[in-house]
């Protein structure tokens, strides 16, 4: 083991950390907002909307993320119509393709998590809210969604961790995130073990911080579940 090389590559890999964190936060944020809508479509009584949400989730959960990334980055370029239209300036950038693929992917998984949360809201709570005159948006904002999010938080924390690890896949479409830079340095120095260990440690640290944060917010959001000290 070449410890000197490891210490030397650490700051170089940290440069890619900003891209990794950008990809995770942007796609998680947009994906989460879309996922709420998708979960509501999935629970709606409209057969067409329900079918749309079902097939969306079926496709994105049934195929590997790598296929989805490749389909967007390499696949879209096959169509001349798109290459000549204005959307091409979006699809020719690997960065935006990666964000699009990660967003669509996390949207499918999070919508299932949120749906589970919404379905776990006790019927009595909804009934009592209705009896006080709440309905529609107010009912969702004050009663259903807060309870659903609390219920879904542990599963969503899992999804965040999976997303952090999933961003390493974007190095296959030329993006220089932590893994991308690691692969570049390996091609120059021929010492994969040392450099991947450093890259792995960086991901481990991110995920360690994420799990702490999720744990902390879980304790903050469900104080009534803790035993009295």
């Amino acid at each position: 083991m070449n410890y000197e090389l490891m210490i030397e590559t650490f700051p170089k890999l940290l440069v890619g950390l900003s891209i990794t964190i950008q990809l995770v936060t942007i796609s998680l944020f947009i994906g989460f907002c879309l996922a709420i809508g998708l979960a509501l479509l999935r629970l709606s009584n409209n057969l067409f909307l329900n079918f749309f949400a079902k097939s969306y989730v079926f496709y994105f959960r049934g195929t590997p993320l790598l296929v989805q990334i490749f389909l967007i980055y390499y696949g879209i370029a096959q169509f001349e119509l798109i290459r000549e239209s204005f959307v091409w300036s979006f699809f020719k950038e690997a960065y935006w393709c990666a964000i699009l693929a990660l967003t669509l992917n996390t949207c499918a998984y999070s919508s299932e998590i949120i749906r589970g949360g919404i379905q776990s809201v006790p019927f009595g709570q909804i009934e009592s809210a209705k009896s006080t005159g709440m309905s529609g948006f107010l009912l969702y904002r004050r009663i259903i969604l807060p309870i659903a999010f609390r219920q879904a938080l542990p599963a969503y924390g899992n999804e965040i961790i999976l997303m952090v690890k999933a961003t390493s896949l974007v190095s296959t479409i030329t993006i220089m995130d932590v893994t991308g830079i690691a692969r570049l340095i390996i091609a120059k120095t021929f010492s994969p073990v040392e450099i991947f260990i450093v890259a792995g440690l960086i991901y481990l640290t991110i995920n360690f911080i994420v799990t702490r944060l999720v744990n902390y917010s879980e304790i903050k959001l469900t104080p009534y579940l803790r035993h009295a000290e």
Binding site: P64, L66, V67, Q68, F70, Y74, G75, F79
Partner: protein, 95 residues
């Protein structure tokens, strides 16, 4: 009953009931993760699609085919796991 018989006749049937849904999940995840093997150069579905799309300049056709193949694999194995769960649950009294 000796230990082996206890294990196969009593423990396994009861454990499977609870373990099968989780095992099905792990199976699905691993199935999808096999696509990552393409970076090592082994020629599986993804690598094959990558090679073909490179030489024909029609990446969409080949990657969407790969996606469909994965969909078929995941749905088929999902069906098998569902029927295995039904089989494991057949001794349970329903309310």
């Amino acid at each position: 009953m000796n230990k082996l018989v206890i294990f196969t006749r009593i423990l396994i049937p009861q454990v499977l009931r609870y373990a099968l849904p989780g095992l099905g999940n792990v199976w699905q995840l691993t199935l999808k993760d096999t696509a990552l093997i393409m970076v090592t150069g082994l020629v599986e579905i993804m690598r094959q699609a990558h090679i073909a799309s490179g030489s024909t300049y029609s990446p969409f056709t080949f990657y969407i085919t790969a996606a469909l193949l994965y969909l078929i694999l995941t749905t088929a194995s999902n069906k098998i796991f569902n029927s295995a769960e039904n089989w494991a649950n057949k001794g349970v009294r329903r309310a």
